[in-house]
């Protein structure tokens, strides 16, 4: 807690009112004020909740998805969503069950027709264990460790628990809540697995972009002279090239190598941040220019602090609230850009999945069938929309919380 002082730890736990009173006397810290302001922003709070759900779902995708990430079944392409029934034939409540789907060829139009086979029902099982070698996975917090390290430390996928599955000993009947794609992959599962890439790439890219921007802007503003000129010119040159085209060119650098997705992912982060750092650098430079003339910076200099220390300990922290706001507003932009890149086939490569890449499939097949009988392959677009919208709302909330001028 930001307002906690040494005295509160020595005494008994102070009541909430006493703590509030003390905070009042001391003057609340920036984070306390910001949090208070943020809580008055209902849209931003709702956005935070939805984002929390999305990120949690992405983290536990292995558990939530009924089938593994790379599951394909070329006999089951474009299968419509499986309907889950909660009432039996007599209209009484029952355990959730599904009917298997059968496909046949319409001999007049030569189109595949899917039919529900109601001869036998299959119940859904919850918290099933599937022991198959492909069904095993590494559970969430451990899965953050890069694969290379996991191999050297000999951490093997052992978890077998899945949220749900079909009660079918032969394992022939599959449940596809949101249908299947052009390779028979489960769209529901792929949306969850794709969320991992689509949602984290924005955060990572904006972190890297802001790090570069703060470094360059700090250097330019503090030292001035030829360094300032050089950095400003560089930012100007990057700005002069239309961003979409620069982005496509940059990602084309890595495309011909046919790299595995574990390498492509960090490369996309780098490409996105290389485009995005200019604006941050400019603003940080302007702030540092004015901050370094303030009394506290001059005092630090007089006290003999090194240049690096003045930049790091006195100037950059002053720009923190700006950085938080810029970051939360940059993330949705990066999510969108990654989607565009993958959609063009220059981002994440199969068999890895991202929302943009899934829409690439939709693009290839939209001319064949339209929205009519394959609408479920457009579902990833809704997720891009929701995550960008909620990040925008969260960013607006944070800006209002940190910026005294936009307070209500």
């Amino acid at each position: 807690m930001a307002t906690q002082t040494p005295q509160t730890q020595t005494g008994a736990a102070p009541s909430r009112r006493a703590r509030a009173a003390r905070a009042e006397r001391q003057g609340a810290s920036l984070s306390t004020i910001a949090w208070k302001q943020f809580r008055q922003h209902p849209l931003a709070r709702g956005a935070l909740l939805i984002l929390g759900i999305l990120y949690t779902a992405a983290a536990f995708a292995d558990f939530l998805a009924p089938y593994p990430e790379r599951y394909i079944n070329t006999n089951n392409t474009f299968q419509p969503p499986t309907q889950v029934h909660f009432r039996d034939e007599d209209g009484r409540w029952s355990r959730p069950y599904i009917y298997p789907m059968k496909k046949s060829l319409d001999l007049q139009t030569f189109q595949t027709v899917w039919e529900v086979d109601t001869s036998q029902k299959y119940y859904l099982k919850f918290f099933v264990r599937r022991e198959g070698i492909r069904d095993r996975y590494v559970p969430f917090p451990v899965s953050l460790i890069p694969l290379k390290l996991r191999q050297t430390w000999d951490i093997r996928p052992t978890a077998t628990l899945h949220l749900f599955g079909v009660d079918d000993p032969t394992d022939r009947v599959k449940v596809h809540l949101w249908g299947t794609d052009d390779l028979g992959g489960d769209v529901f599962g792929k949306v969850l697995f794709g969320a991992r890439i689509s949602l984290t790439i924005g955060i990572l890219a904006s972190l890297v972009a802001i790090a570069i921007g703060m470094l360059m802007g700090g250097l330019a503003g503090f030292y001035g002279g030829w360094l300032d000129e050089l950095i400003l010119r560089l930012v100007e040159a990057i700005d002069a090239i239309p961003s979409l085209f620069l982005l496509l060119t940059l990602s084309a650098v890595f495309y011909p190598l046919g790299l595995p997705s574990s390498v492509v992912f960090p490369l996309i982060v780098v490409v996105l941040s290389l485009i995005g750092w200019g604006g941050v650098a400019r603003t940080i430079r302007a702030q540092v220019l004015s901050l370094k003339e303030r009394d506290f910076a001059v005092a630090a200099k007089a006290a003999g602090a090194s240049n690096w220390r003045i930049i790091r300990a006195h100037l950059l922290p002053q720009t923190l609230s700006y950085v938080i706001v810029v970051m939360s507003l940059a993330i949705p932009g990066f999510i969108l850009t990654e989607a565009v890149l993958s959609f063009f086939g220059l981002g994440i490569q199969p068999p890895a999945t991202s929302w943009g890449l899934m829409l690439n499939t939709a693009q290839s097949f939209v001319g064949v069938s339209g929205l009519g009988d394959r609408w479920w392959i457009f579902i990833p677009g809704i997720f891009i929309f929701v995550s960008v919208l909620t990040w925008n709302l969260l960013g607006d909330g944070l800006r209002d919380a940190f910026d005294p001028r936009s307070r209500r």
Partner: protein
């Protein structure tokens, strides 16, 4: 003023050089080149090497950049496409015209719709109408325009499948029988094909522009001279449209240059999805083929456009705003 313009134009030169050099560098660090695709030719194992020599790809890249720059500066020669063997300028010119015919109406339409929306939202701040428009613009900011284009395309196919005739075409710029139509019908055909991409590009750029207009209008309406105008008894309409609107719209017009890159990029993805034969589809296929000169030419021309656009909007701003001294 003259000195200011000259200085601004001279300032563009180093930026332009640095930007093209940067672009060339990025293309060059890509592994392989146009000739790489022939490296495993069974009949003629030396084919790739020979092609490299013929195209001059065996020379170091900074030298090739200098050659390219010299040709560009001395006789506006952007090089020869390695894929189509034709002159790059004649290759990209029709594409740019096509993109222009999408971008120009989209820009005009965006401003025609966004400015009234922005003014309305600002004048009726926090009213129900303003709130509805705010929600719409939040949605508009979050919908990826390629997704919107996909949905429109899907709707076009769906409509055809259920009704047997096309309400809007499913992509492209002309019908397959375009060359047989009369001039009047050709124009109509093009207009019909323009509807869907125009709609998507305009919708996706509407949100940003109307928000900027709203913010600008609100800022102007908070100024002292507006209060003065109200205090001396001018009617609400006169204050809003004669005083506030004129000052706010000038700034918007002057920022068109700054909005151009977003418009070009946004239209780019729509061109790709709707198979509009503009710049972006050519750019993407050239990237995949590593056709360096086409990629470079498009980057160069677009960069030039952006820089000129920014220059013009700076000049416009300097012209209308007496506070800007040069």
């Amino acid at each position: 003023m003259f000195v200011f313009i000259v200085r601004r134009v001279l300032n563009l030169i180093p930026t332009f050089l640095l930007a093209t050099f940067l672009a060339w560098f990025v293309i060059e660090i890509a592994p392989g080149d146009f000739a790489s695709q022939f490296a495993f030719d069974q009949v003629d194992p030396n084919k790739a090497q020979r092609i490299r020599e013929v195209l001059g790809l065996n020379q170091p890249w900074p030298i090739r950049y200098l050659y390219w720059l010299r040709n560009l500066v001395t006789n506006f020669d952007l090089g020869t496409s390695m894929v189509s063997k034709g002159d790059v300028t004649t290759l990209i010119y029709p594409r740019m015209v096509n993109s222009f015919w999408l971008l120009l109406p989209a820009t005009v339409l965006t401003f025609l719709i966004a400015i009234p929306i922005g003014v309305y939202s600002a004048v009726r701040k926090y009213s129900i109408g303003d709130r509805v428009l705010t929600v719409f613009s939040l949605i508009g900011l979050a919908v990826p325009n390629f997704f919107l284009a996909l949905l429109v395309l899907a709707f076009a196919v769906y409509f055809y499948q259920s009704n047997g005739w096309f309400l809007i075409p499913t992509g492209g710029m002309t019908s397959s029988n375009h060359s047989q139509l009369s001039l009047w019908q050709q124009l109509l055909d093009r207009g019909w094909h323009l509807i869907a991409p125009l709609l998507v590009v305009t919708l996706s750029s509407l949100a940003t522009t109307s928000r900027i207009m709203r913010g600008e209008m609100l800022e102007v309406m908070g100024q002292d001279y507006i209060r003065t105008a109200k205090a001396k008894g001018l009617s609400e309409n006169v204050v809003t449209y004669k005083h506030a609107f004129r000052n706010a719209v000038v700034v918007i017009i002057a920022t068109i240059g700054g909005l151009l890159p977003g418009l070009i990029s946004g239209a780019g993805t729509v061109e790709f999805v709707m198979r509009w034969p503009g710049i972006t589809p050519l750019f993407i296929s050239s990237i995949f083929a590593q056709d360096v000169y086409v990629v470079m030419a498009l980057l160069t021309v677009l960069t030039l456009f952006l820089m000129i656009g920014n220059l013009l909007s700076d000049l416009a701003l300097a012209l209308v705003d007496p506070r800007i001294r040069y």
